[in-house]
């Protein structure tokens, strides 16, 4: 394990940021889903990616994960260009979607084996990391049960751990805590912090504004553009708002007017 990053992680000077996006744009016909988005995410940072539904978040994530080619602009993820080397990008990231993404008719161990195999880990490594993972989650007793029989909270934690199995430099979490109770959400965020402390960059989208406050830095997307970017404290101060929720609602409402990116 790496030495835990202390304080506020930032983009190391001269070092390569985990994610760098320059004027990243995606058009579908006449519609511009993502409009010249520019931002950087530092190594080991927990970066919140906020936006109302339809603001362009999903399209942006699809480009950053190598699923969708940008129309213009560029982005590098873990040092790989998303349009030139999408396969290299895919190998270096972990991904967990809003919908529960393990196979319910298979056991935790079988899911671990499957994803380990897909990411090209040798069997002994999969066995070793799998055992540690189950131990850490306290799931040893459930290792042989089908995932479908586990409570949702455990499933989410398991899915997160499986997404980290190949020890990616960056993990994308797309609304990872949807439909989970507050206590489990809390535990989930503890896992996110531990992961970031180990030096893994966490790129997370959420609709829960309390979670947004937990992020090191966050961006708010409105109508395909990033209209706010900074630490939660900075954003609150900048908009003279008591909470990120107020900032968000304020920004999302002026949807039609041209946004002023910071």
């Amino acid at each position: 394990m790496n030495a835990g990053a202390t304080g506020l992680p930032t983009v190391p000077e001269g070092g390569e940021p985990a994610i760098r996006s320059r004027d990243l744009t995606r058009r579908f016909g006449d519609f511009t889903a993502v409009d010249a988005v520019t931002f950087e995410v530092g190594v080991g940072e927990v970066f919140g990616f906020l936006g109302a539904n339809g603001a362009g978040k999903t399209t942006a994530i699809r480009m950053l994960t190598g699923l969708l080619a940008p129309t213009s602009g560029e982005a590098t993820v873990a040092g790989h260009d998303v349009s030139a080397e999408p396969e290299a990008v895919k190998r270096s990231i972990g991904y967990m979607s809003q919908r529960f993404s393990l196979y319910e008719d298979m056991t935790p161990r079988e899911n671990i084996e499957l994803y380990g195999g897909i990411y090209g880990l040798p069997s002994p490594v999969i066995r070793d990391r799998g055992a540690r993972l189950l131990e850490r989650l306290g799931l040893e007793s459930a290792a042989g049960k089908r995932v479908g029989s586990l409570p949702l909270g455990w499933k989410q934690k398991l899915a997160f751990s499986v997404a980290l199995l190949h020890e990616p430099g960056i993990v994308f979490l797309d609304e990872p805590t949807g439909g989970v109770d507050p206590i489990t959400r809390r535990q989930f965020w503890e896992m996110i912090y531990e992961t970031a402390a180990d030096g893994t960059t966490v790129f997370v989208t959420t609709h829960y504004m309390d979670e947004a406050e937990y992020c090191d830095r966050l961006s708010i997307m409105v109508a395909g553009r990033i209209v706010a970017l900074g630490t939660p404290t900075e954003l609150r101060r900048e908009h003279g708002a008591p909470s990120i929720e107020d900032v968000f609602v304020r920004l999302a409402r002026q949807d039609a007017s041209p946004p002023a990116a910071s």
């Binding site: 994960t65 190598g66 979607s97 196979y103 079988e110």
Partner: protein, 384 residues
């Protein structure tokens, strides 16, 4: 073992687990060919037995007696009476007391000696399939008789049982020769069609559902973000179904052979290879459907309406393509099952090999190449 094959094998194992753990579906899929073959074999046969046949004999003699004896000796026919004129027959047909009548022309024996003897066969064709079968039986028996007597016989066959028909003067001249299937077992004809049907269900329907299920559950997203290439995802999803479909072919053939003694006149190996080709075509169609359908339900409807119905109705499985209207026939060529059934019937019933079936095989191969390319492309296109 490289990472690529390792990942692929793991993925195939996972898909196999899905199939093996869904016990109910697996049971249905495994039993499907067995049940289909037995059902079709026993129930939906168009063969007829105990055809109630009557004879109109203006002048009884050795020749007529010989032919009637031939009918009497056949298991298929039950002679119900002999009349000197056709007068009582319309009534018998209308009451459904009789299925078929063989009418000897006056002077039958003399004509037979000179060549050019004439017979009328009138068949109750209120059920066209049964009617056609009864007609063919009678004709084959008469031909057998003509063969024995080394005589030239003109057979005039008429469908229908109405009075006008019996009084009719102009008949349809038929010269039918029955080859390849002397027993006229319609179930022999059905088996290739059934195999096509089962393979379409297992290969196309089930794969399209299995792939759309991953879309619905959100696991497809994770797979797409993973280093697995689209072709690996497709191969991984499809491979276990290929095995399952092949098991189904063996089951269907085994059941048809054991339960009904359906013949295998040609090469079994060739038949299995051709089946494999058809499975690949069906799998490609399943993948293609899954690229378009967003839900399992949509995939199922698309597979049923777009594949199962044409495979059943337009492939010649039940309704002969030859009797379809001209404008419809080109469509039958687009249905892969048409070619597979043609091939399977050729191998099983005629005992012919690739020398005769290379065109059909080539068409199926082209379909396999085109559909596989198209479905992989379509799958790829989903991503960008």
């Amino acid at each position: 073992m490289s990472d690529v094959t390792g990942a692929l094998l793991g993925f195939v194992r996972k898909e196999t687990r899905h199939i093996l753990r869904d016990r109910q579906t697996l049971f249905v899929l495994l039993m499907l060919p067995l049940v289909q073959v037995l059902l079709f074999g026993f129930v939906i046969r168009t063969d007829v037995e105990n055809v109630r046949v009557g004879f109109v004999v203006p002048a009884s003699d050795a020749a007529t007696g010989e032919l009637i004896a031939l009918f009497r000796g056949s298991d298929l026919f039950t002679p119900v009476g002999t009349w000197p004129t056709a007068a009582p027959l319309p009534d018998l047909f209308e009451r459904g007391a009789i299925d078929q009548v063989v009418m000897f022309a006056p002077g039958f024996a003399d004509d037979l000696g000179r060549g050019g003897a004439r017979l009328f066969v009138v068949t109750d064709a209120s059920d066209p399939n049964t009617g056609a079968a009864m007609r063919t039986y009678a004709e084959s028996l008469i031909r057998e008789y003509a063969g024995q007597g080394a005589a030239d016989l003109t057979l005039v066959s008429r469908p229908g049982g109405g009075p006008g028909t019996l009084a009719g003067t102009s008949g349809i001249e038929t010269r039918v020769r029955i080859r390849f299937d002397p027993a006229l077992e319609s179930r022999n004809l059905f088996v290739p069609g059934l195999i096509a049907l089962v393979l379409t269900i297992v290969s196309a329907l089930m794969t399209s559902i299995a792939i759309t299920r991953e879309k619905e559950r959100g696991t497809m997203e994770v797979l797409l973000v993973s280093p697995l290439r689209p072709w690996q995802i497709i191969v991984g999803k499809v491979a276990p179904y290929l095995v399952l479909a092949f098991v189904n072919v063996l089951t269907a053939l085994g059941a048809a052979w054991l339960a009904f003694g359906v013949p295998f006149r040609g090469s079994v190996t060739l038949l299995l290879l051709e089946s494999l080709l058809f499975i690949i075509v069906s799998l490609a169609l399943g993948v293609f459907i899954s690229t378009r359908a967003e839900s399992q339900r949509a995939a199922m409807l698309a597979a049923i309406a777009g594949l199962l119905l044409p495979s059943t109705l337009l492939s010649g499985m039940i309704f002969p393509i030859g009797s379809m209207p001209g404008w419809l026939r080109p469509f039958t060529n687009v249905v892969p099952a048409t070619w597979f059934i043609e091939i399977a019937r050729g191998i099983m019933l005629k005992g012919v090999g690739l020398a005769y079936l290379w065109q059909e095989t080539l068409i199926l191969t082209l379909m396999a190449v085109i559909l596989t390319t198209a479905s992989v492309r379509a799958f790829d296109a989903r991503l960008s």
